[in-house]
Protein backbone atom coordinates (compact mmCIF):
# COMPACT_ATOMS: atom_id res chain seq x y z
CA UNK A 1 0.00 0.00 0.00
CA UNK A 2 1.35 3.38 -0.92
CA UNK A 3 2.19 5.73 1.96
CA UNK A 4 -0.28 8.37 0.72
CA UNK A 5 -3.19 5.90 0.94
CA UNK A 6 -2.10 4.73 4.39
CA UNK A 7 -1.92 8.32 5.50
CA UNK A 8 -5.42 9.10 4.23
CA UNK A 9 -6.87 5.99 5.94
CA UNK A 10 -5.23 6.97 9.22
CA UNK A 11 -6.53 10.50 8.79
CA UNK A 12 -10.06 9.23 8.13
CA UNK A 13 -9.92 7.12 11.31
CA UNK A 14 -8.70 10.08 13.33
CA UNK A 15 -11.46 12.29 11.96
CA UNK A 16 -14.04 9.70 12.89
CA UNK A 17 -12.60 9.24 16.39
CA UNK A 18 -12.84 12.99 16.87
CA UNK A 19 -16.61 12.78 16.47
CA UNK A 20 -18.62 11.12 13.76
CA UNK A 21 -22.20 12.21 13.27
CA UNK A 22 -23.33 10.88 16.65
CA UNK A 23 -21.69 10.25 20.02
CA UNK A 24 -20.33 6.76 20.39
CA UNK A 25 -20.45 6.17 16.66
CA UNK A 26 -16.70 5.65 16.52
CA UNK A 27 -16.90 2.61 18.77
CA UNK A 28 -16.77 -0.53 16.71
CA UNK A 29 -19.83 -2.58 17.64
CA UNK A 30 -21.21 -5.01 15.11
CA UNK A 31 -24.84 -4.47 14.12
CA UNK A 32 -26.89 -7.57 13.40
CA UNK A 33 -29.61 -5.83 11.42
CA UNK A 34 -28.69 -4.49 8.03
CA UNK A 35 -31.86 -2.44 7.62
CA UNK A 36 -33.95 -1.07 10.49
CA UNK A 37 -37.73 -0.90 10.29
CA UNK A 38 -40.05 0.73 12.81
CA UNK A 39 -42.81 -1.31 14.44
CA UNK A 40 -45.18 1.04 12.59
CA UNK A 41 -44.57 -0.92 9.39
CA UNK A 42 -45.99 -4.09 10.96
CA UNK A 43 -49.34 -2.56 11.96
CA UNK A 44 -52.70 -2.75 10.21
CA UNK A 45 -53.61 0.35 8.14
CA UNK A 46 -56.32 1.26 10.69
CA UNK A 47 -53.79 1.23 13.54
CA UNK A 48 -51.34 3.28 11.49
CA UNK A 49 -53.96 5.88 10.70
CA UNK A 50 -54.90 6.13 14.38
CA UNK A 51 -51.26 6.84 15.21
CA UNK A 52 -50.99 9.40 12.40
CA UNK A 53 -54.16 11.20 13.49
CA UNK A 54 -52.81 14.24 15.33
CA UNK A 55 -56.12 14.67 17.12
CA UNK A 56 -57.42 11.14 17.62
CA UNK A 57 -54.23 9.32 18.67
CA UNK A 58 -55.26 8.34 22.22
CA UNK A 59 -51.67 8.66 23.44
CA UNK A 60 -52.02 12.42 23.00
CA UNK A 61 -54.33 12.46 26.02
CA UNK A 62 -51.26 11.64 28.11
CA UNK A 63 -49.17 14.20 26.23
CA UNK A 64 -51.73 16.88 27.19
CA UNK A 65 -51.67 15.65 30.77
CA UNK A 66 -47.86 15.67 30.81
CA UNK A 67 -47.64 19.23 29.49
CA UNK A 68 -50.16 20.38 32.12
CA UNK A 69 -48.10 18.69 34.87
CA UNK A 70 -44.91 20.20 33.46
CA UNK A 71 -46.40 23.68 33.64
CA UNK A 72 -47.27 23.14 37.31
CA UNK A 73 -44.15 21.34 38.61
CA UNK A 74 -41.26 21.81 36.20
CA UNK A 75 -41.70 25.16 34.43
CA UNK A 76 -40.30 27.20 37.33
CA UNK A 77 -36.81 25.61 36.99
CA UNK A 78 -36.59 24.68 33.32
CA UNK A 79 -36.46 27.33 30.65
CA UNK A 80 -39.32 26.03 28.58
CA UNK A 81 -40.46 23.00 26.67
CA UNK A 82 -39.04 24.37 23.43
CA UNK A 83 -35.56 24.00 24.99
CA UNK A 84 -36.17 20.33 25.72
CA UNK A 85 -36.94 19.01 22.25
CA UNK A 86 -33.97 16.63 22.13
CA UNK A 87 -33.81 15.50 25.77
CA UNK A 88 -35.58 12.21 25.13
CA UNK A 89 -33.10 11.24 22.41
CA UNK A 90 -30.20 11.20 24.88
CA UNK A 91 -31.62 8.76 27.44
CA UNK A 92 -30.76 6.26 28.93
CA UNK A 93 -27.55 7.92 30.08
CA UNK A 94 -25.16 7.98 33.03
CA UNK A 95 -26.24 10.16 35.91
CA UNK A 96 -23.32 11.37 38.06
CA UNK A 97 -25.48 12.04 41.14
CA UNK A 98 -26.97 8.54 41.14
CA UNK A 99 -23.74 6.97 39.81
CA UNK A 100 -25.59 4.70 37.38
CA UNK A 101 -27.26 4.73 33.99
CA UNK A 102 -30.90 5.82 34.22
CA UNK A 103 -33.68 6.26 31.70
CA UNK A 104 -35.84 9.32 31.10
CA UNK A 105 -38.62 8.20 33.45
CA UNK A 106 -36.14 7.68 36.30
CA UNK A 107 -34.59 11.07 35.55
CA UNK A 108 -38.01 12.72 35.79
CA UNK A 109 -38.84 10.83 38.98
CA UNK A 110 -35.49 11.85 40.52
CA UNK A 111 -36.16 15.47 39.59
CA UNK A 112 -39.66 15.29 41.06
CA UNK A 113 -38.64 13.82 44.39
CA UNK A 114 -35.26 15.58 44.89
CA UNK A 115 -35.83 19.05 43.47
CA UNK A 116 -39.58 19.58 43.51
CA UNK A 117 -40.18 17.66 46.74
CA UNK A 118 -43.09 15.62 45.49
CA UNK A 119 -43.75 12.17 46.96
CA UNK A 120 -42.40 9.19 44.99
CA UNK A 121 -44.90 7.49 42.71
CA UNK A 122 -44.93 4.09 40.99
CA UNK A 123 -42.82 3.68 37.88
CA UNK A 124 -45.89 2.91 35.77
CA UNK A 125 -48.04 5.67 37.31
CA UNK A 126 -50.13 8.00 35.17
CA UNK A 127 -48.03 10.98 36.26
CA UNK A 128 -44.64 9.56 35.25
CA UNK A 129 -46.05 8.13 32.02
CA UNK A 130 -47.58 11.50 31.15
CA UNK A 131 -44.37 13.45 31.78
CA UNK A 132 -42.26 10.88 29.95
CA UNK A 133 -44.49 10.80 26.90
CA UNK A 134 -44.75 14.61 26.81
CA UNK A 135 -40.95 14.94 26.62
CA UNK A 136 -40.61 12.03 24.19
CA UNK A 137 -43.28 13.48 21.94
CA UNK A 138 -41.26 16.71 21.73
CA UNK A 139 -38.46 14.70 20.12
CA UNK A 140 -40.85 13.31 17.51
CA UNK A 141 -39.05 12.74 14.22
CA UNK A 142 -35.51 12.81 15.65
CA UNK A 143 -33.40 9.65 15.97
CA UNK A 144 -31.88 8.51 19.27
CA UNK A 145 -28.54 10.11 20.07
CA UNK A 146 -27.41 7.97 22.99
CA UNK A 147 -23.77 7.81 24.01
CA UNK A 148 -22.46 4.27 24.41
CA UNK A 149 -18.90 5.22 25.36
CA UNK A 150 -17.33 6.31 28.65
CA UNK A 151 -19.57 5.93 31.67
CA UNK A 152 -22.32 4.40 29.55
CA UNK A 153 -20.13 1.66 28.06
CA UNK A 154 -20.53 -0.89 30.86
CA UNK A 155 -24.33 -0.58 30.86
CA UNK A 156 -24.37 -0.84 27.08
CA UNK A 157 -22.34 -4.04 27.18
CA UNK A 158 -24.64 -5.54 29.84
CA UNK A 159 -27.67 -4.60 27.73
CA UNK A 160 -26.13 -6.14 24.65
CA UNK A 161 -25.28 -9.32 26.55
CA UNK A 162 -28.87 -9.49 27.81
CA UNK A 163 -30.19 -9.14 24.28
CA UNK A 164 -28.22 -12.13 23.00
CA UNK A 165 -28.66 -14.40 26.06
CA UNK A 166 -31.22 -17.21 26.01
CA UNK A 167 -33.66 -17.24 28.94
CA UNK A 168 -36.94 -18.64 30.20
CA UNK A 169 -38.61 -21.97 29.55
CA UNK A 170 -38.75 -21.17 25.84
CA UNK A 171 -34.98 -20.77 25.89
CA UNK A 172 -35.10 -17.77 23.58
CA UNK A 173 -33.05 -14.60 23.40
CA UNK A 174 -34.52 -11.28 22.18
CA UNK A 175 -32.28 -11.80 19.15
CA UNK A 176 -34.10 -14.95 18.04
CA UNK A 177 -37.52 -13.38 17.55
CA UNK A 178 -36.63 -9.82 16.65
CA UNK A 179 -33.59 -10.32 14.45
CA UNK A 180 -33.37 -13.91 13.16
CA UNK A 181 -37.12 -14.32 12.61
CA UNK A 182 -38.32 -10.72 12.25
CA UNK A 183 -41.02 -10.45 9.61
CA UNK A 184 -42.17 -14.06 10.02
CA UNK A 185 -45.39 -15.15 11.69
CA UNK A 186 -45.69 -16.28 15.31
CA UNK A 187 -49.22 -17.62 15.32
CA UNK A 188 -51.40 -14.63 14.34
CA UNK A 189 -48.70 -12.04 14.99
CA UNK A 190 -45.98 -10.80 12.69
CA UNK A 191 -42.70 -10.54 14.57
CA UNK A 192 -41.37 -7.00 14.38
CA UNK A 193 -37.77 -5.96 14.73
CA UNK A 194 -38.62 -4.89 18.26
CA UNK A 195 -37.45 -1.29 18.21
CA UNK A 196 -38.09 1.07 21.11
CA UNK A 197 -38.64 4.25 19.08
CA UNK A 198 -42.42 4.37 19.68
CA UNK A 199 -42.40 4.14 23.49
CA UNK A 200 -44.27 5.11 25.61
CA UNK A 201 -46.84 3.48 23.34
CA UNK A 202 -50.62 3.23 23.35
CA UNK A 203 -51.26 -0.50 22.93
CA UNK A 204 -54.76 -1.51 21.94
CA UNK A 205 -54.26 -4.74 23.87
CA UNK A 206 -53.62 -2.73 27.05
CA UNK A 207 -56.29 -0.15 26.24
CA UNK A 208 -53.92 2.39 27.73
CA UNK A 209 -50.50 3.98 27.41
CA UNK A 210 -47.58 1.95 28.72
CA UNK A 211 -43.83 2.25 29.15
CA UNK A 212 -41.12 0.31 27.33
CA UNK A 213 -40.46 -1.60 30.56
CA UNK A 214 -44.08 -2.76 30.62
CA UNK A 215 -43.51 -4.14 27.12
CA UNK A 216 -40.25 -5.79 28.17
CA UNK A 217 -42.00 -7.42 31.14
CA UNK A 218 -44.64 -8.72 28.73
CA UNK A 219 -41.90 -10.07 26.46
CA UNK A 220 -40.29 -11.88 29.40
CA UNK A 221 -43.60 -13.38 30.50
CA UNK A 222 -44.40 -14.48 26.94
CA UNK A 223 -41.23 -16.53 26.73
CA UNK A 224 -41.85 -17.84 30.23
CA UNK A 225 -39.01 -16.03 31.91
CA UNK A 226 -39.57 -14.22 35.18
CA UNK A 227 -39.94 -10.48 34.51
CA UNK A 228 -37.83 -7.99 36.47
CA UNK A 229 -39.46 -5.33 38.62
CA UNK A 230 -40.16 -1.92 37.07
CA UNK A 231 -37.03 0.22 37.06
CA UNK A 232 -34.66 -2.77 37.26
CA UNK A 233 -31.14 -1.96 36.10
CA UNK A 234 -31.22 -4.91 33.67
CA UNK A 235 -34.08 -3.25 31.79
CA UNK A 236 -32.41 0.17 31.80
CA UNK A 237 -29.24 -1.38 30.36
CA UNK A 238 -31.34 -3.14 27.74
CA UNK A 239 -33.10 0.14 26.91
CA UNK A 240 -29.71 1.72 26.24
CA UNK A 241 -28.79 -1.11 23.90
CA UNK A 242 -32.18 -0.86 22.15
CA UNK A 243 -31.80 2.90 21.69
CA UNK A 244 -28.44 2.35 20.00
CA UNK A 245 -29.88 -0.53 17.99
CA UNK A 246 -32.71 1.64 16.62
CA UNK A 247 -29.97 3.45 14.68
CA UNK A 248 -31.48 6.26 12.59
CA UNK A 249 -35.16 5.42 13.20
CA UNK A 250 -37.13 8.51 14.11
CA UNK A 251 -38.86 8.63 17.50
CA UNK A 252 -42.63 8.39 17.05
CA UNK A 253 -44.03 8.35 20.59
CA UNK A 254 -46.89 8.03 21.38
CA UNK A 255 -47.07 5.23 18.84
CA UNK A 256 -50.19 3.08 18.54
CA UNK A 257 -49.67 -0.67 18.40
CA UNK A 258 -52.05 -3.60 18.45
Amino acid sequence: MRPSIVASVVLALLVCAGGCDRPGASINVQRTLTEVQSGYAYQAPETQSLQDDDFGNPGLLWVDKGIALWEVHCASCHEGLDHMTDVATRYPRFDPALNRVINLTQRIDHCRTEHVGLPAVDYESEELLALTVALTHLADGQPYAVDISGNNAAAFERGRAYYYTRRGQMNLACHHCHEVNAGKKLRGETLSQGHSNGYPTYRLQWQTLGSLQRRLRFCNAAMRAEPFAYGAQAYVDLELFLAWRADDLALESPAVRR
Binding site: F55, G56, P58, L60, L61, D64, K65, A68, L69, Q207
Partner: protein, 107 residues
Protein backbone atom coordinates in the same frame (compact mmCIF):
# COMPACT_ATOMS: atom_id res chain seq x y z
CA UNK B 1 -56.20 19.02 34.39
CA UNK B 2 -57.48 18.51 30.93
CA UNK B 3 -59.16 15.16 30.61
CA UNK B 4 -60.73 15.61 27.21
CA UNK B 5 -59.56 16.69 23.78
CA UNK B 6 -62.04 18.55 21.60
CA UNK B 7 -61.43 19.71 18.05
CA UNK B 8 -63.64 22.33 16.40
CA UNK B 9 -62.77 23.54 12.89
CA UNK B 10 -61.74 27.14 12.34
CA UNK B 11 -62.68 29.38 9.41
CA UNK B 12 -66.27 28.20 9.36
CA UNK B 13 -68.83 30.09 7.28
CA UNK B 14 -72.57 29.98 7.92
CA UNK B 15 -74.22 26.93 6.40
CA UNK B 16 -71.07 24.75 6.48
CA UNK B 17 -71.35 21.18 7.69
CA UNK B 18 -68.49 20.77 10.16
CA UNK B 19 -67.01 17.75 11.92
CA UNK B 20 -66.49 18.00 15.67
CA UNK B 21 -64.13 15.46 17.23
CA UNK B 22 -63.88 14.51 20.90
CA UNK B 23 -61.62 12.19 22.87
CA UNK B 24 -61.74 11.52 26.60
CA UNK B 25 -59.71 9.51 29.12
CA UNK B 26 -61.78 6.69 30.55
CA UNK B 27 -60.96 3.00 31.23
CA UNK B 28 -64.38 1.71 29.99
CA UNK B 29 -64.01 -1.35 32.20
CA UNK B 30 -66.48 -3.91 30.85
CA UNK B 31 -67.25 -5.78 34.07
CA UNK B 32 -66.46 -9.09 32.36
CA UNK B 33 -62.74 -9.16 33.08
CA UNK B 34 -61.04 -10.68 36.11
CA UNK B 35 -57.83 -9.54 37.78
CA UNK B 36 -54.71 -11.65 38.39
CA UNK B 37 -56.34 -13.22 41.46
CA UNK B 38 -59.49 -14.22 39.57
CA UNK B 39 -61.67 -11.57 41.17
CA UNK B 40 -64.09 -9.89 38.81
CA UNK B 41 -63.29 -6.22 38.09
CA UNK B 42 -66.52 -4.23 38.52
CA UNK B 43 -68.00 -2.53 35.51
CA UNK B 44 -67.01 1.12 35.16
CA UNK B 45 -68.12 2.75 31.93
CA UNK B 46 -69.25 6.04 30.51
CA UNK B 47 -72.99 5.84 30.01
CA UNK B 48 -73.94 9.10 28.38
CA UNK B 49 -72.47 11.81 26.18
CA UNK B 50 -74.31 14.91 25.09
CA UNK B 51 -73.55 18.17 23.36
CA UNK B 52 -75.69 21.28 23.69
CA UNK B 53 -75.70 24.50 21.71
CA UNK B 54 -77.75 27.42 23.06
CA UNK B 55 -79.55 25.14 25.57
CA UNK B 56 -80.53 22.77 22.78
CA UNK B 57 -79.20 19.23 22.54
CA UNK B 58 -77.46 18.85 19.17
CA UNK B 59 -75.83 15.46 19.70
CA UNK B 60 -76.40 12.67 22.19
CA UNK B 61 -75.07 9.14 22.65
CA UNK B 62 -75.63 6.22 25.00
CA UNK B 63 -72.40 4.28 25.61
CA UNK B 64 -72.25 0.52 26.21
CA UNK B 65 -69.62 -1.88 27.60
CA UNK B 66 -68.49 -2.93 24.12
CA UNK B 67 -66.94 0.49 23.48
CA UNK B 68 -63.15 0.64 23.86
CA UNK B 69 -61.28 2.65 26.46
CA UNK B 70 -60.76 6.39 25.87
CA UNK B 71 -63.78 6.82 23.56
CA UNK B 72 -63.27 8.86 20.41
CA UNK B 73 -66.62 10.31 19.32
CA UNK B 74 -67.03 12.56 16.31
CA UNK B 75 -70.16 13.97 14.73
CA UNK B 76 -71.28 16.49 12.12
CA UNK B 77 -73.12 19.71 12.68
CA UNK B 78 -74.55 22.31 10.33
CA UNK B 79 -73.17 25.64 11.53
CA UNK B 80 -75.76 28.39 11.11
CA UNK B 81 -74.40 30.81 13.72
CA UNK B 82 -71.65 31.05 16.32
CA UNK B 83 -72.03 30.27 20.01
CA UNK B 84 -70.95 28.06 22.86
CA UNK B 85 -70.92 24.28 22.63
CA UNK B 86 -71.14 22.40 25.92
CA UNK B 87 -69.84 18.83 26.04
CA UNK B 88 -70.89 16.55 28.89
CA UNK B 89 -69.72 13.01 29.59
CA UNK B 90 -71.43 11.09 32.37
CA UNK B 91 -70.65 7.62 33.67
CA UNK B 92 -70.71 5.20 36.54
CA UNK B 93 -69.25 6.10 39.94
CA UNK B 94 -70.49 9.69 39.55
CA UNK B 95 -68.14 10.34 36.66
CA UNK B 96 -68.92 13.70 35.13
CA UNK B 97 -66.83 15.97 32.91
CA UNK B 98 -68.12 19.15 31.29
CA UNK B 99 -66.15 21.21 28.78
CA UNK B 100 -67.17 24.23 26.77
CA UNK B 101 -65.83 25.49 23.47
CA UNK B 102 -66.64 28.53 21.36
CA UNK B 103 -67.76 28.01 17.79
CA UNK B 104 -66.96 31.00 15.60
CA UNK B 105 -68.98 31.31 12.40
CA UNK B 106 -68.39 33.97 9.74
CA UNK B 107 -71.50 35.04 7.91
Amino acid sequence: MAKARINIPRNVTAGDVIEIKTLITHPMETGFRVDSLGVRIPRNILTHFSVTFADQVVFEAELQPGIAANPYISFHLKAERGGTLTFTWRGQNDFSVTETRELAVAS
